[in-house]
């Protein structure tokens, strides 16, 4: 995991996962009115979403954005790019998203990304592994913060001097 490209990808997964979770968690339980799902050209985005997740319905995080099809299309494009196999596999990205969702207490995200992990072949042991890492580092981080420990593992890894890929893979 020494290449920066891997960490850029991970960071984008963290960001878009949190973005989807906060909206889904906030709005789904309220029963807030959601606009009718768009049809026609705008509906093609929904078909892409269904196909990407291999399901018949549109996940809540996207459904709640349906009132503005152009906005939905851009959010979806960013999410699709973040979760597509690149240097990190989609399976790994779903594991990251699951750990983020658990850490941020996102009920919607935890359920959704657990489902995606399983769909992508992660077994019960693998799920437990991600839960264990998430739990252990939720402990270490709070101990470190409570004692205000200074980082002592900075600069142990090599510096990646490759140029910016500019989205090229």
């Amino acid at each position: 995991m020494t290449e920066d490209a891997l960490w850029y990808e991970a960071a984008l997964v963290v960001g878009i996962t949190n973005a989807l979770n906060v909206v889904a968690d906030a709005l789904a339980p309220t029963g807030a009115p959601v606009a009718d799902l768009p049809t026609g050209d705008a509906g093609a985005v929904l078909d892409e979403i269904r196909a990407f997740y291999a399901r018949d319905d549109v996940p809540t995080a996207y459904r709640v954005l349906a009132g503005d099809p152009a906005y939905l299309a851009d959010v979806w494009a960013a999410a699709r790019q973040a979760f597509t196999d690149h240097r990190l596999t989609r399976r790994m990205k779903e594991a990251l998203a699951f750990s983020i969702s658990v850490t941020t207490r996102s009920v919607w995200g935890s359920r959704f990304h657990l489902g995606e992990m399983r769909r992508l072949g992660v077994g019960p042991r693998g799920v437990m592994e991600i839960l264990g890492v998430t739990q252990m580092f939720s402990s270490y981080t709070k101990i470190a913060d409570t004692l205000q420990l200074d980082p002592d593992m900075v600069g142990l890894g090599p510096v990646d001097c490759t140029p910016a890929p500019g989205g090229q893979r």
């Binding site: 990251l96 983020i100 077994g123 592994e129 890492v133 252990m136 270490y140 101990i143 470190a144 200074d150």
Partner: protein, 84 residues
């Protein structure tokens, strides 16, 4: 700056220092002094011992590699806004 004085390895009793050897082997890196978290964990070996074992069990290679798990750990730490 830490809210406690982190003791040098030499200030710990011998049984606690065994945790430093385990941590050194785990990180495969020769720190001048054991990592701060290792020294915190060695403060109470009855906590640090099982906590460390749970961590190693969680971080060991399984369906996910240790490297992949280190990335998960880094992400969890980042989301928790932990600079350590």
């Amino acid at each position: 700056m830490p809210t406690v004085r982190l003791r040098d390895a030499a200030e710990y009793p011998e049984p606690a220092r065994k945790l430093f050897d385990l941590a050194k082997a785990w990180f495969a890196y020769d720190f001048n002094e054991p990592a701060a978290m290792s020294r915190v964990m060695a403060w109470d070996p009855e906590f640090g011992g099982p906590h460390g074992r749970a961590m190693k069990r969680a971080m060991g290679a399984g369906e996910f590699t240790r490297a992949e798990k280190e990335m998960v750990a880094a992400v969890v730490s980042g989301v928790n806004a932990c600079g350590y």
